[in-house]
């Protein structure tokens, strides 16, 4: 999966040429070469961080308009500012935590990024570390993922970074890669979200201000540090400059990861996978939204445009259902995944998610009361956990209901009549974590 042909890497005043401004082949090198030498040849050295002006990196990031690529879309400049301010207040060095886990099974972008540009991710983490006065960088990655070995090899390939950089294997569970869960795992070995009571940008790893950023965010940061906000914004839209990595999967001829400029119409994004905008797709990951692709064909791929049209950028994945694919069947699987994946720490989540999973399954079986139960329960569960996990499950369930009572209501009526449908094999990937319904618990109020 690559963009338009890139300009040859020659030298310009002794430096490697800046990637062509209008090219979207920024994060992923075309052709082979993820070694340190290839990396330097392609992009040149990482400039030294401006350490005597503590707000400098934050300003540059503000100017660039970079937003987090991990799913929350939080402005990276603001996050860096918060950590830098906390460092000044607490007079302890910060910790940079690169989230290389990619817990959402529909998303492959981070593992592709790490396979092909691991040095760029490390560059970003080191640059951020220097800028927020961190003396430690942790690259968090799922314990048995190929990315772990790739990061270790990339680290060994480069000169001494100057600060402590470690690769830490994290349990391969969905909630383990949530930001506060990573911090909690490093502190106590318990890989479950810790909640919003104690903000990690103030008190994180070892009680120190901690900057947690997605691998792709750090890679974008490393490019902005080299080539500047203006270069970054030379593609994309005014509201959302730059590019994003997108995973296209499901029933498409050429599934994989592409780098797209923000604002690219969905039709063109799908075309990179050989697909046409037809049928239903899950956009944004397991906590995403169901969209009818024909209606979304001209929507530009960006957080704002997708959200305005009823979609979401989320973790940057688009899973296309085959013709005849059943949104309801897929949603039942997804909700069961969410119910099993929870940390079992918060009542509304540990009881609410199995309840709505059972309700959605009942709806698929033709139960007429299930719709009312879902409508009653979804707003009750939303927002009442310590992390965003129940919110994501509620969002995808609500999106499915909206589809099934709206554009696809004929299909819901078929489920009622026939107590089901004969869907094609499921395409939404759930990883290895799809467990049997036996492990669900349904709690009853005492």
């Amino acid at each position: 999966m690559s963009g338009p042909a890139r300009a040859p890497a020659g030298t310009l005043n002794g430096r490697a040429a800046i990637p062509r401004a209008t090219s979207t082949a920024r994060l992923l090198p075309v052709g082979a070469g993820s070694s340190w030498a290839d990396h330097l040849a392609r992009l040149g050295p990482l400039p030294a961080a401006v350490t005597d002006a503590p707000g400098h990196l934050a300003q540059v990031l503000h100017a660039s308009g970079l937003m987090g690529r991990g799913g929350a879309g939080f402005p990276t400049g603001r996050k860096v500012s918060s950590v830098a301010a906390a460092v000044l207040r607490s007079r302890t060095p910060a910790v940079v935590l690169a989230n290389c886990c990619e817990g959402d099974p529909t998303s492959l972008k981070d593992r592709v990024l790490i396979e092909r540009s691991p040095q760029l991710v490390i560059d970003g983490a080191l640059h951020a570390a220097a800028a927020v006065d961190a003396d430690r960088v942790v690259l968090a990655v799922h314990e048995h993922a190929p990315a772990k070995a790739q990061l270790l090899a990339a680290l060994a390939d480069r000169p001494d970074p100057g600060c402590e950089v470690t690769v830490v294997g994290v349990p391969s569970r969905y909630v383990a890669s949530e930001a506060t869960a990573l911090v909690r795992y490093l502190n106590t070995g318990d890989a479950r979200p810790a909640g919003k009571m104690v903000p990690i940008w103030e008190t994180g790893v070892n009680g120190r201000p901690t900057l947690v950023d997605n691998a792709e965010t750090l890679a974008q940061l490393a490019l902005i540090a080299r080539f500047g906000p203006a270069w970054f914004g030379s593609v994309g839209t005014v509201a959302e400059p730059g590019t994003s990595l997108v995973t296209i999967g499901g029933a498409v001829p050429r599934a994989g990861v592409v780098e797209v400029a923000h604002g690219t119409p969905l039709r063109a994004v799908l075309a990179r996978a050989g697909a046409v905008p037809a049928g239903w797709a899950l956009i944004g990951g397991l906590a995403g939204r169901w969209v009818e692709l024909p209606a979304f064909a001209e929507i530009g791929y960006s957080t704002g445009e997708l959200a305005a049209a009823g979609g979401t950028r989320g973790v940057g994945s688009i899973i296309v259902l085959p013709p005849g694919g059943c949104v309801l069947t897929e949603t039942v699987r997804i909700l069961r995944f969410h119910a099993n994946a929870g940390a079992r720490q918060c009542g509304p989540c540990m009881f609410g998610l199995p309840a709505i999973a059972a309700d959605m399954a009942a709806l698929a079986g033709g139960d007429r009361g299930a719709l009312d139960r879902l409508r009653r329960r979804l707003p009750v569960i939303d927002g009442r956990g310590a992390c965003g996990h129940p919110d994501g499950a509620v969002a995808v369930a609500a999106s499915a209901l909206s589809v099934l009572t709206g554009r696809d209501s004929a299909h819901l009526r078929q489920h009622r009549r026939a107590r089901g449908c004969q869907p094609p094999p499921s395409v939404v990937p759930l990883g290895a974590a799809e467990l049997s319904p036996r492990s669900l618990s349904t709690g009853v109020r005492s």
Binding site: T166, Y185, N187, T188, G189, D190, R192, Q345, M350, G443
Partner: protein, 198 residues
């Protein structure tokens, strides 16, 4: 004041304090055990637990002041807090002093509960399980003689029975859905103590 009256007052308020603290123990155990009824909800159980504690403290204060004030036995305020140094009955009075020390710790931590970690508050509060038997033994062993009288022994037995009954209720298998759901957490999300790079 007639020291006989003070002496009787001390013994009486001592007995009443024991009954009150027994009720406080039972109500505290009931709160933790989620006990509540239609006409007497759990919040009421907790409020009564706190109210009776204050009442019991008042009675204990009178018990201590009258015991020292009657002058018949060699006690001063220092012995109330520092155990086993009294001129009279050092062991049994000393047990009471330890109980008072624990009571003060429980009282301070409960008053400052909002500012303490839950773990700290809980550890100190659990010392009530030491405080109460010490108070009961203190009452039993005093060589004032009343401790061994049948009515006092019967009262002691009744108090012990009440607390044991409450504990039996509390220690029943916890079938509350929240407890059971949280128990599965460690199986699904095991804590890893080793961790390279942590």
């Amino acid at each position: 004041m007639d020291t006989q009256i003070l002496w009787y007052a001390s013994r009486a308020t001592g007995a009443v304090s024991l009954v009150l603290f027994t009720a406080v123990m039972v109500l505290g155990i009931a709160t933790a055990g989620r006990l509540g009824f239609a006409g007497f909800p759990r919040a009421a159980v907790l409020r009564l637990h706190r109210t009776l504690t204050l009442t019991a403290v008042a009675f204990i204060a009178v018990h201590i002041v009258t015991a020292i004030g009657d002058g018949y036995v060699d006690l001063n305020y220092w012995d109330v807090l520092v155990p086993f140094g009294a001129g009279f009955d050092p062991l049994w009075i000393g047990l009471g002093a330890v109980a008072i020390d624990l009571l003060i710790a429980i009282g301070i931590t409960s008053a400052l509960r909002r500012h303490l970690s839950v773990a700290v508050w809980r550890v100190v509060h659990f010392s009530a399980y030491a405080m109460w038997p010490l108070a009961l033994l203190h009452g039993f062993g005093n060589s004032g003689g009343d401790g061994h009288r049948p009515w006092m022994v019967a009262l002691d037995v009744a108090c012990v029975t009440a607390v044991l009954a409450a504990l039996a209720y509390r220690l029943r298998p916890d079938g509350h859905p929240d407890t059971m759901a949280r128990r599965t957490a460690l199986a699904v999300h095991p804590v890893q103590n080793s961790g390279a790079g942590r």
